[in-house]
């Protein structure tokens, strides 16, 4: 299948390095302490933050920092074909963990000892890039809740199909099976907090070389206090190492009363 036509346009009419349209709104859930709706094209997620508040389960209390919890859930109608998903399946548990770790990194948890912050993310529509959209939405919700943070995490994904790097994959491109990299960065601190490369592995030997390059890449951006999260499994990668360097997405936040205007621009590091 052809993902970029001879004119250089993708299936949805974007250029390979083009993001989908971003829309965001904060204060979407009246009862939450902070909330946001974030849309990337047809992907739409809603995030709500409750806390900092008293720890519900005393045994989980941490005496020198806040407990950050996260739950990711998908609406029944979020995917193209309707299906009822059981709660707490492996995929959503994994994404919950990714979001929790990413957000925990940017929250100044040491300022709120013996308290708990809950982040709930609900996918209303899934059209590729839900992971990134959830992280962006969670950041906005945390900012709306007034929770002290080091920086606002921003996230974006990129893939590699037909030997072309593509920014911000949609569902059709995502299901084509090429490698897919999600990056989360703290733009002001210039640090990588999330780096995830997903795809099936066919051969272990193929894995080693790219892993080394990725690790070097990660170390370059890894500074004290920032954990870089690596998941590498893939198929035929050499060329795909370019992908993470492409996924620099920087979002400029302009908080105006109750609306967030998001200006997105991408800095493409050529490899």
């Amino acid at each position: 299948m052809e993902f970029v036509n001879p004119e250089g346009l993708r299936l949805d009419g974007r250029r390979p390095m083009e993001m989908r349209q971003l829309r965001a709104q904060i204060g979407a859930v009246a009862k939450a302490d902070g909330s946001a709706v974030f849309e990337m094209g047809n992907t739409k997620v809603i995030a709500a933050v409750y806390g900092p508040r008293e720890v519900q389960n005393r045994s989980q209390q941490i005496n020198d920092q806040a407990l950050v919890r996260c739950e990711y859930s998908m609406a029944n109608f979020s995917t193209g074909d309707r299906r009822r998903k059981p709660k707490g399946d492996r995929r959503s548990t994994e994404i919950s963990l990714v979001i929790r770790q990413t957000m925990e990194e940017c929250i100044l948890t040491n300022l709120m000892p013996r308290s708990q912050i809950d982040i709930y993310v609900q996918v209303l529509q899934a059209d590729g890039g839900t992971r990134s959209a959830c992280i962006n939405a969670a950041t906005l919700a945390l900012a709306d809740a007034g929770i002290p943070m080091r920086d606002l995490v921003t996230s974006c994904s990129a893939g590699f199909l037909n030997s072309t790097p593509l920014l911000d994959l949609n569902y059709v491109e995502d299901s084509a099976g090429g490698p897919d990299v999600t990056v989360g960065i703290l733009p002001k601190l210039d640090k990588v907090t999330l780096l995830q490369m997903l795809r099936n592995t066919t051969s272990i030997t193929l894995l080693i070389q790219p892993y080394n390059v990725l690790e070097r890449f990660a170390r370059e951006y890894q500074t004290a206090g920032v954990s870089t999260w690596l998941v590498v499994h893939k198929k035929g990668i050499r060329a795909h190492i370019q992908a993470p360097t492409l996924a620099w997405l920087l979002l400029d936040f302009q908080l105006s009363s109750h609306h967030l205007k998001l200006v997105a621009y991408t800095g493409v590091a050529t490899s």
Binding site: V29, K31, A48, F77, G80, R84, D118, L124, Q125
Partner: protein
């Protein structure tokens, strides 16, 4: 989860006794209602409704399936409700399941007919494509995004709006298939059939707090309720479903009184919803 002090409880109850509730409403007044349709482009029909701080989304998806052998001339409709933890931390994990099931069952008995499919708000025979062979299965999903009481009325209204937003593709059944064979179908991409939603009832919940009952209770008021009666009423004034929640017993005469009050209120609610739905559809067409 509402934690109220004794003073707050007295204030809420006292306000209801004097027909002036904490937010300035009378006992029989709804909070402002706003509706947006077509919020889920991937669904056949969808709507979001806000009643005060309560917000729910309903989506309708249609799939081709086989009719039930006992009712070969009727389609199938299923209603599911999901309470998102976004609305309330209590709904985390499996915490929302009990409420979700309660709401799904209440909606099923308010909007769908009996086992035979008779008396349903949705005309099930309009869902049939080829009798005994192919029908539309409607999956109605409700999602609670923000919860501030009165979820059932909000879900009922959202489903009504989503159904009137629903377009079902026209299906051509290839002639020639005979006997037990499953006929081939051609689903149109362009032609959509609209539903007749005039028969879809609205749900009015009357919540009994102290000696009086109120409509459209907030979650603070609901925490003080002794019992609640939900009545679903069609435009013609017919009662389509009835359910009671809460453990306290009710005097039969109070129930019949509640039903007649609910019937009166439903007229205003239907008119309000209809005008909001048509405004939302007009907005959507403009976009």
């Amino acid at each position: 989860m509402v934690g109220l002090s004794l003073g707050e409880k007295h204030f809420i109850q006292g306000g209801i006794d004097q027909n002036l509730r904490s937010d300035g409403r009378k006992r029989d007044a709804y909070r402002p209602i706003s509706i947006e349709t077509g919020v889920i482009p991937q669904a056949n029909g969808s709507a979001r409704i806000r009643i005060g701080a309560t917000e729910v989304i309903a989506s309708v998806k249609a799939e081709l399936g086989r009719p039930n052998a006992l009712q070969p001339d009727k389609g199938k409709v299923a209603i599911f409700v999901d309470c998102s933890p976004v609305a309330e931390p209590m709904f985390e994990g499996r915490g929302g399941e009990e409420l979700s099931t309660e709401l799904s069952v209440a909606l099923q008995c308010c909007l769908l007919g009996g086992k035979s499919g008779a008396g349903a708000g949705i005309d099930l025979s309009s869902l049939i494509v080829a009798e005994g062979k192919i029908c539309w299965d409607l999956y109605i999903d409700g999602l609670v995004i923000s919860s501030d009481g009165n979820l059932l009325d909000a879900l009922g209204a959202a489903i009504k709006a989503a159904l009137s937003n629903t377009g079902i593709p026209r299906v051509q059944v290839a002639a020639g298939a005979s006997g037990d064979e499953q006929p081939e179908v051609d689903i149109s991409d362009e032609e959509f059939l609209q539903f007749d939603t005039s028969g879809v009832p609205v749900i009015v919940t009357l919540t009994k707090v102290g000696r009086h009952y109120i409509v459209d209770a907030t979650s603070e008021e609901e925490s003080q309720m002794s019992s609640a009666v939900s009545v679903s009423i069609s435009r013609k004034g017919h009662i389509c479903g009835l359910s009671k929640r809460g453990s306290a017993g009710l005097d039969p005469s109070v129930i019949s009184d509640m039903i007649s009050v609910a019937r009166h209120i439903s007229e205003q609610l239907i008119n309000k919803l209809d005008s909001e739905i048509s405004a939302a559809e007009a907005d959507e067409d403009e976009m």
